[in-house]
Subunit: 146 residues, 2 copies
């Protein structure tokens, strides 16, 4: 094993309707990658990719065709630079068709965070954490204990 | 917005028992980061972090306390360098207590892929894709169309 052991290189979101999901992410500012094909849509992220894939196909690929696949217990977070960026990203998500779960607010750990769900129920947290700075490329490195 | 628009900086997995989940990930070779606290466990990945967080706390944080949160419709993939590494990572996951959903096998898109579920039902795909090379740091960049 030549790579760091702890990694996620691809996040796949099972969706009921690939076109509807693609329209939502386009409206939220995501640009599909040329690797996308008729049955799957890919997005390049910082060091990893995101995929949209039909739920039934995903269940089959997981080796359990027909299984009901649930959402909500996984949260994908976008860390932002400050409260204004959190609000902007959040409101753009709502405008694109997301459901508001919790409007961004100051939270006990010292940051500012809100949650929305995409049209398939996938949960996104939009947050800023002043203790977790981002690199210019948007990479998050957990701080060393001071 | 100063960072790339398309990003996931933190993936949070809701778990029924934080100690049990931590033991599983430790057994699978993951090392917790010093940012971890009594109620949340963090792991540093390539440009992003993974968190384990109790399901009830996650539902509350999402603004819907008591909501049943489901798994399965999100797949987290670890891309590997070849079939041998896929098998090794997969078998180490099973040894640590994962459930086998589909043993790694050659798949139609030209790669090799298997699926397992962690003790809370979170689905991991362990795969190699010869068309998607990884950087030495384990970062995945989707190939430009040739």
């Amino acid at each position: 094993m030549t790579h760091p052991r702890q990694r996620v290189t691809l996040i796949t979101l099972g969706v009921a309707d690939l076109d509807r999901a693609g329209r939502f992410y386009a409206g939220w500012g995501w640009q599909p990658h040329a690797e996308s094909q008729s049955g799957v849509t890919f997005y390049q992220m910082q060091g990893a990719a995101l995929a949209l894939f039909p739920l039934a196909e995903l269940a089959k690929d997981q080796g359990r065709p027909g299984a009901p696949l649930g959402t909500g217990a996984v949260t994908l977070a976008q860390n932002c630079d400050g409260e204004a960026e959190v609000d902007a990203v959040f409101d753009q998500g709502l405008a694109a068709g997301a459901s508001c779960l919790k409007r961004p607010e100051k939270v006990f750990w010292g940051g500012y965070s809100g949650y929305l769900a995409d049209p398939d129920g996938h949960v996104w947290e939009i947050a800023c954490n002043p203790f977790w700075p981002l690199s210019p490329e948007g990479a998050l490195t957990l701080p060393d204990p001071g």
